[in-house]
């Protein structure tokens, strides 16, 4: 227990901040993922073959390649790519991007592929009559989306999105290879300096369990809220 004390003697405060970092990366990655899903879901649902192909390419590649490999691509290739873009604008200095940004972007792209699949499934399972009824009533396209499709889609998507959240939360542990101090990295540091890996890695497992448990409770409440009337 001494090992977990707050302050200089223990690792309690360090692990606390690391947990916050894990949460921050997961939430950011989730939103980055939503952004990608927003782009690729319409592509996957598009009637045009070529747009379809782009959408399918994204979800197939990302879901078929290990997360760790994607993270290495961004970790080693991220600053190179940004420097290349910067060089086109006439900036030739070395740019190093922050581990938080690389990490949440890499995890975000992965979680985006899963979110895309979830949204696609949710939209496809909405009854066709809903679209037709809205059309017949002369409702504008964007109002139709925000007021009719989106609320129904969210209800259908929330249970699957909670799975995506769980996957994303667990994937953030892989960011530790880039040196970002989240739960896994902090446990690695603590385990190295106290020579007590069993304790610290087990404690990390407890922290992750706590995070998944609490977030599931929260999501269940959301699910109830959105399934009113069903």
């Amino acid at each position: 227990m001494e090992l977990l004390a707050f302050g200089k003697t223990g690792w309690g405060d360090e692990l606390f901040y690391a947990t916050l970092m894990t949460l921050a990366v997961s939430v950011t990655a989730m939103f980055v993922g939503f952004f990608f899903a927003l782009i690729f879901t319409p592509l996957k649902l598009s009637r045009h073959k070529s747009l379809n192909l782009i959408g399918n390419f994204y979800t197939t590649v990302i879901r078929g390649v290990p997360e760790l490999l994607v993270i290495y691509l961004f970790f080693f290739g991220g600053s190179g790519a940004i420097m290349f873009v910067a060089s086109m604008f006439g900036y030739f200095e070395y740019i190093e991007i922050n581990a938080f940004i690389t990490g949440s972007f890499a995890i975000g792209i992965i979680s985006g592929a899963y979110s895309t699949e979830v949204f696609r499934g949710a939209i496809q399972s909405i009854d066709k009559g809903q679209f037709e009824a809205a059309k017949v009533l002369g409702i504008k396209k964007h109002i139709q989306f925000y007021k009719i499709i989106l609320p129904q889609m969210l209800r259908l998507a929330i249970p699957n999105l909670s799975n995506v959240w769980q996957i994303t939360l667990k994937d953030t542990s892989l960011i530790s290879v880039t040196g970002l101090v989240e739960i896994m990295r902090q446990s690695y540091i603590a385990a190295g300096s106290t020579r007590d890996p069993l304790f610290f890695y087990s404690f990390a497992a407890v922290l992750y369990l706590l995070l998944t448990y609490l977030s599931m409770k929260l999501i269940n409440k959301l699910e109830l809220k959105y399934s009113r009337g069903f």
Binding site: P66, F76, P197
Partner: protein, 224 residues
């Protein structure tokens, strides 16, 4: 684009693919046994056994695979007693530590898949077996298990693909699997995109094969 590097690294990555496939097949083999045992325990009427099986799958599905590997590889070596037993000959090898972690992890997911498959078997089928005077042991082996396997094929196919991606974590405990070798080539040549295309392509090819194999099996074992 450095095509020469892509061509040169291909055989090295292909060698590493063998390590990945070995890890995958061994962990799936052990994981299937673990999954079957825990699925049966989950359906046990004794609440203690039931809870234990539920706890196992909850813990292994609720924590990252990386934590599980690190606990087994770095953590277990700390227990003095373990070092004196024969188990140490296995646990000191990163290869076996990775397989143990993967098998326990995939076992947890497999137990959930099998449990839901067992629960969706129509009670009428079991009752029909009983009324024909078939012993419950034979009902289990000849009726429940074949139906459960068929029902769980699509979900298990996904699990195989997830596990294929999971084996990439073996590279964090010094094993040179496909991802490990890819990372090594990337960090020595600083050509991440080229290596990613080759290594990612090999992974995609394997997922493609697994996907089609499962599709074929599904067709083969469908009722028609």
């Amino acid at each position: 684009m450095d095509f020469e590097l892509m061509i040169n690294s291909f055989p090295k990555l292909l060698d590493a693919t063998l390590v990945t496939l070995k890890l995958l097949s061994l962990s799936l083999f052990f994981g299937l046994f673990i999954g079957l045992i825990f699925a049966i325990l989950r359906m046990n009427k004794n609440p203690i056994i039931n809870r234990f099986a539920y706890g196992y799958s909850y813990v292994f599905r609720g924590t990252p695979l990386l934590v599980q590997i690190f606990i087994i590889y770095f953590g277990l070596g700390q227990i003095e007693y373990l070092r004196s037993t024969f188990l140490w000959t296995i646990l000191k090898e990163p290869y076996w530590c990775a397989i143990i972690a993967f098998a326990l992890n995939t076992g947890a997911y497999t137990s959930e898949i099998l449990r839901s498959a067992f629960q969706t078997i129509k009670p009428g089928l079991i009752e029909a077996g009983k009324s024909l005077g078939i012993s419950s042991k034979i009902i289990f082996y000849k009726i429940q298990i074949p139906i459960a396997i068929k029902q769980s094929l699509p979900a298990y196919g996904n699990e195989i693909i997830l596990m294929l991606k999971g084996t990439s974590l073996a590279s964090t405990v010094t094993l040179m699997d496909l991802t490990g070798v890819a990372k090594y080539i990337i960090s020595t040549t600083f050509k991440p995109i080229e290596v990613f295309i080759v290594a990612g392509g090999i992974y995609l090819f394997m997922t493609f094969l697994i996907h089609n194999l499962i599709k074929y099996l599904e067709k083969k074992y469908s009722y028609q």
